[in-house]
């Protein structure tokens, strides 16, 4: 696969969150699987994910959040994408998306309602994400 044909994915940790390790492991797994990854790293504002996706014609944005504020940070994320002409881009969120006693099912529903295509619970393995992508990305 040449660089020009590789499918592009944007990754990063949203908001005022510095937890980078899981996101980096995910990024490495994606690269190993042949994706072109635009890794924005820690402390990334929502708008920066969208800007990067526009310029690089990315097909998916994978948002990590580990510090419990994910729900607040991810509000309106799909709207930002629609605004930038990326209405069909694939959106995943993952990590410790909320703190407190909420069940995972509730949390997942919250994120799907916000316009994310998938939400990954704590402990999701990179392989699972790769399988999701293979299924969800439209054929090249």
């Amino acid at each position: 696969m040449t660089a020009g044909l590789a499918r592009t994915i944007v990754t990063g940790v949203i908001g005022s969150d510095t937890h980078i390790v899981g996101n980096r492991i995910l990024t490495m797994a994606l690269e190993k699987a042949g994706y072109k990854v635009v890794a924005l790293g820690a402390l990334t504002p929502a708008a920066d994910f969208v800007r990067a996706a526009v310029e690089t014609r990315a097909e998916a944005i994978l948002v990590s959040s580990l510090y419990g504020q994910g729900e607040l940070d991810c509000r309106g994320f799909r709207d930002l994408c629609v605004e930038a002409g990326l209405e069909d881009i694939l959106l995943y969120a993952g990590g410790n998306l909320v703190v407190g006693k909420r069940s995972w099912d509730e949390t997942e529903e919250t994120f799907l309602k916000m316009g994310f295509d998938r939400a990954a619970p704590p402990g999701t393995r990179a392989e699972t994400v790769l399988e999701w992508l293979a299924r969800d990305l439209s054929p090249a």
Partner: protein, 470 residues
């Protein structure tokens, strides 16, 4: 004697510097009016006559090199996709090429944008958009839009390389130069190839289009726009050459009549622990502050700094400062004729330098996270650079250039600004930076030693020397 003639076809004056290449010294300087609008040769002949009078005859010149900022400078329009990404990279490339940026556009060009671009009458349009392998629809939409318009100026394409062939087809009827993408990958800045392409178009087409080649008998080549020559001079003086140490990381500030230019040659990398945000910065960076000019934009300097503050700095009553402002705004070629006017100009220059350098330098910000605070940096960290060089008429004419240049330095009142802390302060008293920027293309060693030998060290200048220059 082996000599070189360095020419600046400026917007107001045609300026000459004759230098002795062996002894690394200035033979003489000459000046004539800028006559590009009528016949460039008139001003050139006047300047040569002036030079001849100063030197008592002209030597035979081995090199005769020119730069130009005449006829409105190199007017450029830049186009990118996302404003903060490829559109910003395109702006950086144009500024670094010494252009006068007259318009910057992002996303898809509309009919209104096209009309505006045509009205701006650019000399060159720089078209970017998309990383390599990234978005190509928008840059191709914009190429098609430019193709359909009446715009006749050359276009430099520096966008997504996957779109280059299609862009070439779309723009077949235009003068087109294709070069490497200004942003080949996300947040990777690659402005040098676009700069080189712009310079090439400038040499091949713009020099002729502006009528400067009518003086072709008097020079070997017009190499670049004058701001690019200053930038090349700054780069040479900073980096040095094998065997000759340069000054190290530096900043050049030029408070001019219409704008204040700031150039930095420094990587400006974040201090340990600081997290960089935003687009990476070019090591050789130029910014132009269009609202900070000693004459044409004196009113906006005062608006930015405050009339009270300018008046206080000049030791004048605010009403008196307001009257002097009206005077220089109405008569843009006016030179100070009284102590009051000199003090007012000094205050204007100090404010222009303070604000322009503030905008050029990066900033830090503390962000509080659940795991503690972190420092985020935007822009270049210039706090540890080695030298600040002042150039331009306002500084050379200043009774105390050191007091003007000190405004570039870190200020306890602005703790988040990454301004220089303890650099050497130097003055380009002989207006040699542009000349050395030109000369380095053929005689780099002579150019470097000439520059190093003639930059005045303001920290070690005695009171008597200052008095003499003033």
């Amino acid at each position: 004697m082996s000599a070189a003639l360095l020419i600046d076809f400026g917007s107001t004056y045609t300026k000459l510097r004759a230098v002795d290449l062996e002894r690394r010294r200035i033979i003489g300087a000459g000046q004539g009016p800028s006559t590009v609008a009528s016949d460039v040769m008139l001003g050139m002949k006047a300047a040569l006559g002036d030079l001849e009078r100063h030197c008592g005859g002209l030597p035979r010149f081995r090199h005769r090199l020119a730069s130009s900022s005449a006829a409105g400078g190199l007017r450029m329009v830049t186009i990118g996709l996302v404003r903060e990404l490829t559109a910003e990279a395109a702006r950086q490339a144009a500024l670094g090429a010494g252009a006068k940026l007259v318009g910057s556009f992002a996303y898809r060009l509309t009919a209104a944008d096209l009309a505006q671009i045509a009205a701006l009458r650019p000399d060159i349009v720089l078209l970017a958009g998309g990383t390599d392998g990234g978005n190509s629809e928008v840059v191709l939409h914009n190429a098609a839009a430019l193709a359909s318009g009446a715009l006749e100026c050359p276009i430099v394409f520096a966008g997504n390389r996957d779109a280059a062939d299609d862009a070439r087809r779309l723009l077949a009827a235009k003068a087109l130069a294709c070069t490497e993408n200004v942003m080949p990958a996300f947040n990777v800045l690659n402005v040098e190839p676009a700069r080189a392409a712009i310079r090439q178009v400038f040499i091949e087409r713009i020099v002729h289009a502006k009528g400067i080649d009518r003086a072709a008998a008097e020079f070997d080549a017009v190499l670049m726009p004058t701001p690019a020559a200053v930038l090349e001079g700054a780069r040479l003086v900073a980096d040095g050459l094998p065997g000759i140490r340069g000054l190290g990381d530096l900043l050049v500030v030029d408070p001019g009549g219409a704008t204040t230019d700031v150039h930095s040659v420094a990587s400006g990398e974040p201090a340990p622990g600081a997290i960089p945000q935003g687009l990476p910065e070019p090591r050789v960076k130029r910014t132009v502050e269009g609202d900070l000019g000693m004459r044409h934009n004196a009113a906006t300097i005062v608006a930015a700094a405050g009339l009270e503050a300018i008046a206080r700095d000049a030791g004048l009553e605010p009403a008196r400062a307001g009257a002097l402002l009206a005077q220089v705004s109405a008569d843009v070629e006016r030179l100070p004729a009284s102590a009051e006017e000199t003090a007012f100009d000094q205050a204007l220059a100090r404010a222009a330098v303070k604000i322009a350098v503030r905008r050029h330098c990066g900033t830090t910000e503390t962000v509080y996270t659940t795991t503690g605070s972190v420092t985020v940096q935007r822009g270049k960290d210039l706090s540890r650079i080695d030298a600040v060089i002042g150039t331009g008429g306002a500084l050379v004419a200043s009774p105390d250039p050191r007091a003007v240049l000190r405004m570039a330095l870190a200020d306890p009142a602005e703790p988040l600004a990454l301004r220089p802390r303890a650099p050497r302060l130097l003055l380009d008293r002989e207006y040699l930076l542009y000349a050395c920027g030109l000369l380095q293309s053929v005689e780099p060693q002579a150019a470097l030693e000439l520059a190093l030998g003639h930059l005045a060290d303001l920290d070690h200048e005695t009171a008597r020397e200052r008095a003499r220059h003033a």
